[in-house]
Amino acid sequence: MEVNGRRVAVVGMGGVFPTCKDIGEFSDKLFSNKSLIREWDKLKIYGKQIRASSCGFVTEAEMNLEAVYSDIVTSYPEVYIDHLERIPRINMATADIGSIWAMLATLDAVRMSGWTEKETQSETTGVVVASGGGGNEIIRSAWHGFFNMGMKTRVAGSHNVDRAMFYREAANVSCLIKNRGVCESIGSACATGLGNIGHAYRLIKFGVQDRVVAGGVEGTAIEAFVGFDGMHILSKGFSPEESSRPFDLHRNGFVCSFGAGIVCLEEYEMAKARGANILGVIDSYFNNSDGDGDMFYPSFGGQQRLWKGLIPKAGIKPDVVKVHGTSTPVGDPVELLSVVDFLGKDGYHISAPKSQFGHMLGAAGSVEFVAALLMLREQKVLPCLNSVTLNPELENFQKKEGWDGPMEPLAAFRDLLPQKTLEKEINTIACLNYGFGGTNSSILVSKDNS
């Protein structure tokens, strides 16, 4: 349980973001109301097999990486080369593209944290990182060689397991930084990114660890894109930069994207004592399940209970709610109405970063948490881009018997959703993410005002 007096500070952040060379460019583009979503040219060879084409992707070349392909099994990346020599070759050998991003983001975050080598390698430093992972290039090629081409198992290489296992990102980060505390991954679909940060927060809050590298990753993978494309739930029919449009009347699905977000958490008094630059203080973490028995459909009741768990003391009101806001037809209105039901109709703003970079799946929660930290630093609310028209009519579920939420259409809450970056005093931000299976996660993070 919680240890009295222990608080948790965020002291470092890093990431991999579409169309951005570093976190500075990421911040500049976000606050300039730009979209990081592009047409994914790599999908063109599949023609009509694939329905959608807008994506927030990151190429190997953009990260100064290069894949070395097998000459035995076509398209199998045997290993990646780091042209900037940021990661030792022994660590590159055990990593898929997502694990490499996790390591690169960790190097940036740890550098920013100012942790010494002794602190990083301590028994009280942990690693909690995961991806949502629906498959990747490594597994595809390895299985193709064995099942379809009748090759020996060793043709897939001796790194097929470490480059494809769940927890590979955490394992690779831990081997890179050589921490001696816990190393694990927490999976909760699209809540994974926030869930890992939340679990890391608890490890510190409960006195188990003093420092944790935490976050989520989703390496660029056609497999992940194809899975959602087959469900017909990806945005279609808009230009790439207009394709992610949370809360807009004409939205028709989310934009599948990729990236990584890593943060360094530290026990607050320790961070303060060594003069660390504190990017934010985590006030509270709460997660729960819908309990509706539905794998996909969002739950108003589940989200109401989420808010009650996140903000136990009446009267605390965040200045910004960083929503999950995927741009799917049902998810958005249920979420907005649950926020309004708990917080009321004014006094805060809604920020939907997926409108700018799409849905990074297992990385979504952590990259959006990084976006929240940037909002605290810049004192600006990131926009709900493309939320041009809000529904002036009630949603169908609002008309059904048993609905006990707000009885106003989304258009009534127009003022909560800025369409461009908005300057205002921000002390506290609530971050929300949900995942398949009815899992919900939330964090309250504040500026360090001490």
Binding site: M231, H232, K236, N252, M295
Partner: protein, 88 residues
């Protein structure tokens, strides 16, 4: 291909979808609604469409699936439309 022949084929498909209430498959007509009458989970409609493509040897347009209604009639119309496109 006659419409009733297509309905019979659809019922055969529905017998393989375990989340559909099998007892309700005795009197399927063009007016039967997948969602409200057969209590098919909406996420299964894509699977039913994919199975129909295979069974009837057609390929639907993505847009047609996106705009597909939830009645048996809608799927029958879609199959005939795809067949006509294939024959032309």
């Amino acid at each position: 291909m006659e419409r009733q022949e297509i309905i019979d084929g659809l019922v055969e498909i529905l017998k393989t979808v375990r989340t559909v209430d099998q007892e309700k498959l005795v009197n399927v007509t063009e007016d039967t609604d997948f969602l409200t009458d057969l209590t098919t989970p909406s996420t299964e409609l894509i699977n039913i469409a994919a199975k129909a493509e295979q069974k009837f040897g057609v390929e639907f347009e993505d847009d047609d699936i996106d705009e597909l209604g939830s009645k048996v009639r809608d799927v029958v119309d879609l199959i005939l439309k795809a067949k006509a496109r294939g024959d032309s």
